[in-house]
Symmetry: C2
Subunit: 697 residues, 2 copies
């Protein structure tokens, strides 16, 4: 297969053919041609239609061989069954790239899916990239390209946001809404069925695209999650990536015989991947939009202290509540700033943050106040809030805010609670900050700006996840076939991976328990095991805290009698040193059908069963990932010094987690693993796996 070509032929074509151009202006192709012409496309457009001589004033060509010059991009809009021949024709004339608008492929059943596979095979064999099928086109607002090959009802403003969407209709709707708040786009790609080009290709292209400073993604799936993870981690440090993932609940519940599997249901895998990738995940479409708007319009602040400048108290209170809810801080203004504000504001105005200038505030009051609070060393960002003033117009206030000259690196966001017509008019004011309708939405967006700034400023962790050789034990088990590893093998796999295990002996004959116990050291735990003993505790197949040989013998006799009465024959017995006084944790592995191997950390016992206090990542993970996972646990305090007890060996638990993830990454055959409990000893003393179940697919 040839090396994949760049996307330049698709996003920066010097010539473009619309294959299947209709002469009707209100047809789909007529709209696309209209957008190309209205947008002032700098290349040459060739309509292709064997039955017409001209289309919308453009000379029309019967086929690609008739074109007067070379062809970079073909936009294919012919009926579905004519798409493959059209692609063949394109490849025959040496087209640079393809955008297939036509629908009815994978989304429409098996016949369409077969056609889609055939289309992909042909373009891949030719080393030509293809967007679509079933898409709504592409846009590039670069001044030297100006290509709107889409169906957007209103042209996209040029700007800093590159936008890819798995849903074409949603993409077009977002472009339309964006105009209203002055949000501009560098490029837009409707991915459609992503038969060839997908989001990862665009991430690579946008990393190098200078006009693109913010990346916005509407995703319904996450193809090639490992590649996404690597790209997003790298690119997101300089160009913030905003992601809305649709279909949170689509994955549904998966069959789960392990804790880890049961807890990984639903959205957990995608959430883990997106956290790990460090992207800004939007909870709603509106939030995605607000994040992109703020990131495109704001410099990166140096801290979290926000000054609110308002002409109305109520919305400022809502903003203050939201700041605190988002982990940002209401700035404490310096006395000098308060004095300077007092000089020009009426005596009834409030000059502590929030600065409430009352409804009588003028445009120039807003300008001065924004400049003053941002000149304060204790302020990292400003939020202005304007309700429709009584004397001047909201547009005049917007002019005042736009005239403010904030210091470098101090963002401003503006809320206008006013008539909607304001927005359509305001965005043409040069220098106006990103505009929001409600204070809470602005604060959520500002929080995203701050999170990105903090990520960009943090030292790059170059640490790679550790790698591990494949385990001989697992290899052998795979050859035996699916099922649970016997306990001795499960423990041995963990030990090989570098995870400490409580000393144990496995014996087949009850007569050997005393010798085994002497070898591991008292007190011991006695466990019967076997295929019929998956739920050990219910059958009384576990005996704890056996302090000496007599207690062990008694427990063994009672256990054997119980199992016998239940008609259960154990495969053998495990004698294990009882570990005293550790904090219970659980580590685990599961496998997500879309994302692949996941590793889990949680606090043991009730914490995991009742509070579901667990954290997931995609394996393998770095030490930093492991740290973040444990820090995310709501009950993380239980691992620290707590109730007079010293801190637990969190570092050891992190190392065990990194190693378990490496084990998961190198063994796709391990589909489930619960290490439960892992006992975390006092700091410096390590952590010890006490029970482990490993299932091979």
């Amino acid at each position: 297969m040839p090396v994949p070509a760049s996307l330049d032929a698709i996003l920066r074509p010097r010539s473009l053919a619309v294959i299947g151009a209709s002469s009707r202006a209100d047809s789909l192709s007529g709209r696309l041609l209209g957008n190309l012409l209205a947008g002032g496309y700098t290349g040459t457009v060739y309509p292709i239609n064997p039955k017409a001589t001209s289309v919308g004033s453009l000379a029309c060509y019967p086929n690609l061989r008739a074109l007067p010059g070379p062809l970079d991009l073909a936009v294919v809009m012919v009926p579905r069954d004519a798409v493959l021949p059209a692609i063949d024709e394109c490849l025959a004339v040496g087209v640079g790239g393809l955008v297939v608008i036509t629908a009815g492929f994978r989304e429409g059943g098996e016949a369409g899916a077969a056609l889609e596979r055939a289309a992909r095979a042909r373009v891949r064999a030719a080393g030509v990239r293809m967007v679509g099928p079933n898409c709504m086109g592409v846009i590039n607002t670069d001044r030297d390209v100006r290509m709107d090959a889409s169906f957007t009802p209103a042209p996209a403003l040029p700007g800093a946001v590159a936008f890819a969407s798995h849903s074409g209709a949603l993409g077009v709707a977002m472009l339309e809404a964006a105009r209203d708040v002055g949000l501009g786009f560098s490029q837009f790609v409707s991915l459609g069925n992503s038969a060839d080009v997908d989001v990862n290709d665009l991430l690579e292209a946008w990393e190098r695209h200078e006009a693109t400073r913010v990346i916005m993604l509407y995703l319904e799936s996450l193809p090639e999650p490992e590649r996404f993870l690597a790209l997003a981690r790298r690119i997101g440090r300089t160009k913030p990536i905003v992601v809305f993932k649709g279909g949170r609940t689509a994955a549904g519940q998966r069959a789960a015989s392990s804790h880890t599997g049961a807890l990984a249901a639903g959205d957990v895998a995608v959430d883990a991947l997106l956290r790990q990738a460090g992207v800004l995940r939007a909870a709603t479409l509106e939030e995605m939009f607000g994040l992109a708007l703020a990131l495109a319009g704001c410099p990166s602040p140096r801290g979290r202290r926000v000054a609110v400048v308002t002409n109305a108290g109520g919305p400022a209170i809502a903003a203050t509540d939201a700041l605190s809810g988002q982990g940002l801080a209401v700035a404490a203004l310096a006395p000098a700033t308060e004095r300077a504000l007092r000089e020009f504001l009426p005596p009834e105005a409030a000059v502590a943050d929030p600065v409430d200038m009352l409804p009588s505030a003028t445009p120039d009051n807003f300008r001065q106040a924004v400049e003053l609070v941002l000149a304060d060393d204790g302020v990292d960002a400003a939020l202005t809030i304007t309700v429709t003033p009584i004397v001047v117009t909201p547009l005049a206030i917007a002019g005042g805010i736009a005239a403010a000259r904030p210091p470098a690196g101090k963002p401003v966001l503006s809320v206008f609670m006013t008539a909607p017509s304001f927005f359509a008019e305001a965005h043409s004011i040069p220098g106006l900050p990103p505009l929001f309708r409600y204070p809470e939405a602005a604060v959520a967006a500002l929080a995203g700006v701050v999170r990105h700034a903090e990520r960009a400023a943090a030292p790059a962790t170059d640490a790679e996840p550790i790698t591990m050789r494949r385990s001989e034990i697992v290899e052998r088990a795979v050859r035996r076939g699916p099922g649970y590893l016997p306990p001795a093998e499960a423990f041995a796999v963990l030990e090989e991976a570098g995870i400490a295990v409580a000393p144990f002996r496995v014996i087949a004959e009850p007569a050997q328990v005393a010798v085994a116990a002497a070898a591991v050291g008292y007190p011991v735990v006695l466990k019967a095991f076997g295929a019929a003993l998956v739920h050990k505790s219910e059958l009384g197949a576990v005996a704890l805290a056996l302090g000496d040989e007599a207690a062990l013998a008694a427990a063994l006799a009672a256990m054997a009698a119980r199992l016998d009465a239940a008609g259960v024959r154990p495969d053998g017995y495990l004698v294990q040193r009882q570990i005293e006084d550790g904090r219970e944790a659980i580590l685990g592995i599961t496998r997500d059908p879309a994302v692949g191997p996941l590793v889990m950390a949680g606090l043991g016992g009730v914490a995991v069963e009742v509070w579901h206090d667990v954290s997931f990542r995609v394996a393998p993970i770095t030490e930093a990932d492991a740290q973040a996972m444990l820090a995310e646990l709501r009950g993380a305090a239980l691992l620290d010094a707590f109730r007079g007890r010293p801190a637990g060996d969190v570092a050891a638990l992190e190392r065990a987690l990194v190693r378990l993830a490496a084990l998961a990454a190198v063994h796709p055959e391990i589909v489930e693993c619960d290490v439960n409990p892992v006992l975390v000893l006092d700091a410096g003393r390590g952590c010890v796996a006490v029970d482990a179940r490993v299932r091979i697919a």
Copy 2:
């Protein structure tokens, strides 16, 4: 004091004087007069200004005595220091009610606060009601009144929502935004400083006001919380009450020497009150708005099953995710419904819920699809989603949706992801459902409609909170002065209240412990107590599980030696029966400065300390409140059958909680109480308080 008059003179005046009317049209009073005239006020307006003969074409009067007829309402806009004389003049001519617009009172310092107190005293003495001061006016859109005595820049549409706001500017901004989506108001009251009329007065008025079907409140404080609770509980069953409470974090942390006190910080008291009141609490201003819009425009559905009808897949996925997040369900359509949809939709359309009719969907497709899904017995409500269609206009689609005839009791909400100009034009289409810009906002609003429907349909619980006589023990303690009750008294107060306590004896002399232990029965717990022993466990002043007299004697000797070594002299010893095998819970009392006595329930130990898994209500509470409190705990499963253990006696814990709340309600002097732990025994065996601390202020 005379019985407070109704608010009719303020909200339905037949005559209205504007005191301080300026002859300048762009003055504040000029705007208010302009709104009155533009709105077609059905009564008579009298401008009052001693220096003008006419104001805005209206004859002007020098003072109230010069008026030709009786005066219902005076709108006072004179400078602050002229307000009290103006009120006096109003009262002298027998005015029916007052709206004081003028600012500079309580919000501006002590001089203003004193004037405000004086104003309140005068109107209360006269039995005349007053709105304000420092407010933005009142509106009543009743056809026979049509009074807009406010500064709203665009007139409010008539409608079903009554709106009160502690922030005038915010209120006016919301009225303006409401026009854009066609949301209409029955009445609006800007409460200002609420020197006299407050939100509870309006709740009472709106309960009786026929045109008002939905109540929307922007609150910055909760005056008279008990009255609010009683009113909201009653009225909210028929007229949904939507509340946004600003200032969540203002209360800050209060000094807390008890668990209950520490956990009650911040927003907890208000949240408890609003839950108890059964109102719909909005998390953001935008959500408040969406809830009011949906409640005003929708009938109450009979269930939670929602059908989504869309012309774009992406936003429908976002809607589906949101439905599941809000506890609503994507309806499963009947095969007959799917067949009927299939008959008129193209083959590529999806006819299972969500019904994706593709971008080519026509207005009539929307009409038919909405009617079909709502005719399905498995569907309780419909959500339509439209992105800008390619061939027809969004307005045409809106017309199709408006033409649909849904069956009674089946709400429809509509999302239009399209250019903002659509909204300004759409809301004049008769029969159009409530309009939203994003699917998630529509789903959140629909969830509120469902919650209200469920509340309205639930059988009214007429149960009153139990009442309790004041405790002699507490009375005596109050006479002694502030501090902790000695343990015997704390336990006795609980027992008096009907809360079971583990058998105990308190002794002053170590020599008596054996007799005490024999009386309560072994095993026992031994605790030393006294003012110097607040942190018992740190001084080793608690010994558990003493099985016989020898163990008790040994523990006592060791404890006495430890305390002696630490230089601590206990006031005495408590010997208590050790309760085996209960589930640990915590109950408590604290007192919120704004809301009053709060009662808390939580699970004991780590659950409360690490997970903060607690629930609060305002005391007293009903059995239903207690049930809801325990059900709210994230770890509620721990009280049920769990890990092979039978269910705990939850009913007994609920009874104890109701009784503790009654104790709190009747004793304002109890400022803190932790009953920690309460051990919940197996079902039928009750629950037992094992330790209790009670602090008297």
